[in-house]
Symmetry: C2
Subunit: 253 residues, 2 copies
């Protein structure tokens, strides 16, 4: 059983505070905004404060769950404490936390306040240079998820960037499709079965083995037809050409 | 009950021949390759031939299920018949079929010979200038799927191009992610829950409303970090910059 403080009152803070409660004690919430800190504290029956000085010094874990660009400054204001000080970010280095027992506890999933998270399936990436802290974070992770991985800062950066390609950029490709369909008075939902099949296959055999379409087939006639259709869509044409070229440059022979 | 000939022996031909059998008579298979034509004919208990002259003239539907670039030439060799002559392609115009009762019967899904298709969910796009034929194709579609849509050639072209963005290009974005993870000795599967969540959300609220990530947030600091990580990956950096720019150019305010 760990005694835990949560630093932050956003989505990740809420989700972790509530998830930890099952097996651990969430004793303290720090937040800039008193109202928000109080709400979260009440929901998990913890104390709260808007002052760093009020943070109790003797807890086991101080989990910083705030936006990336605030982590370094906030970590610098957390007093010397006996426990682990860890952040939850995918893109911030371990080294921005000045405390001896610094760590990272990064959930590789989108967390929103409203949606119930199926923690068992969320990959939890843990990191610490301090062996005992790494063990403690790994165990804490295992209480939530079946997929806890020890990931160093370099790997975490790669994961974060890879997620931008696999998720943010894929979503944008779907948004481009939606735009083209709208122009022809068609609903995006017509692509749903095909998109589901595409993603299922990519996850099953790997996207490198799952590539289909005119570019990977070298079907120049269809590529040319598509370019003609996009002649008044400069932005989409540029994407079409670059991504098709990239598919051809990386195709397996 | 329709009497049907299938022109072709590939995945789409196999899937349709077997799907039609439940409510209709598949009586004839035409194929260039005698062995393949025989195999399919046996599987659905039909006659077969490698000669266009052997195609019976009095059937209700002649379905051309062959590769896109062969459709025009094959359609030109099908004799005058009493029934509908329709192809199954997303990217080929209706007009390449010279017969009076020409049509299109396009399944918007990836079909492979091995995998059982859940036809009820496959969008079937039907087209014909001939009112009676359009009605017959729509009814035939409804025997298979709950999602039959009358789609003209212009719309079908838009769907085909949109599918390249939503499926082929999304898959390539996942392949890029896989490549980045591999370099850090990480398995692509770590992204699985996040990808599933991303796609689920895009299909639920629309990809235009579902966009997340540093580009849409205008998080220049993270964009710069990512560019630095990609400084030795010219191809990925070009994609990163173009797609991030496109996300920013299209974001909702």
């Amino acid at each position: 059983m760990m005694r835990i403080a949560i630093i932050g009152t956003g989505n990740v803070a809420w989700q972790f505070a509530n998830a930890f409660r099952e097996k651990h004690n969430v004793e303290f919430i720090y937040g800039r905004n008193a109202k928000k800190a109080e709400q979260l504290a009440q929901s998990v029956e913890a104390a709260f404060s808007t002052s760093f000085n009020q943070i109790p010094r003797d807890l086991d874990l101080y989990l910083i769950a705030i936006s990336d660009d605030q982590i370094e400054s906030v970590a610098g204001q957390i007093p010397e404490v006996s426990g682990i000080v860890a952040h939850t970010s995918g893109s911030v280095d371990l080294t921005v936390i000045p405390h001896e027992k610094s760590g990272v506890f990064y959930p590789l999933q989108t967390l929103s306040k409203e949606k119930v998270v199926d923690w068992k399936k969320v990959p939890l990436c843990v990191e610490s240079q301090h062996a005992e802290s790494l063990k403690a974070l790994t165990e804490l992770g295992s209480d939530l998820s079946k997929n806890v991985q020890q990931i160093d800062s370099q790997q975490r950066r790669a994961i974060h960037l890879a997620a931008v390609f696999a998720c943010n950029f894929s979503n944008h490709m779907m948004a481009n499709a939606q735009e083209l369909l709208r122009e022809s008075e068609l609903d995006f939902s017509i692509l749903k079965p095909l998109i589901e099949e595409t993603v299922e296959k990519a996850l099953e055999v790997g996207p490198d083995n799952a590539q289909t379409g005119p570019a990977v087939r070298g079907d120049e006639k269809t590529l040319e037809k598509h370019r003609n259709l996009l002649e008044n869509h400069a932005r989409l044409l540029e994407i079409y050409n670059l991504v098709s070229q990239s598919i051809q440059d990386t195709r397996h022979e």
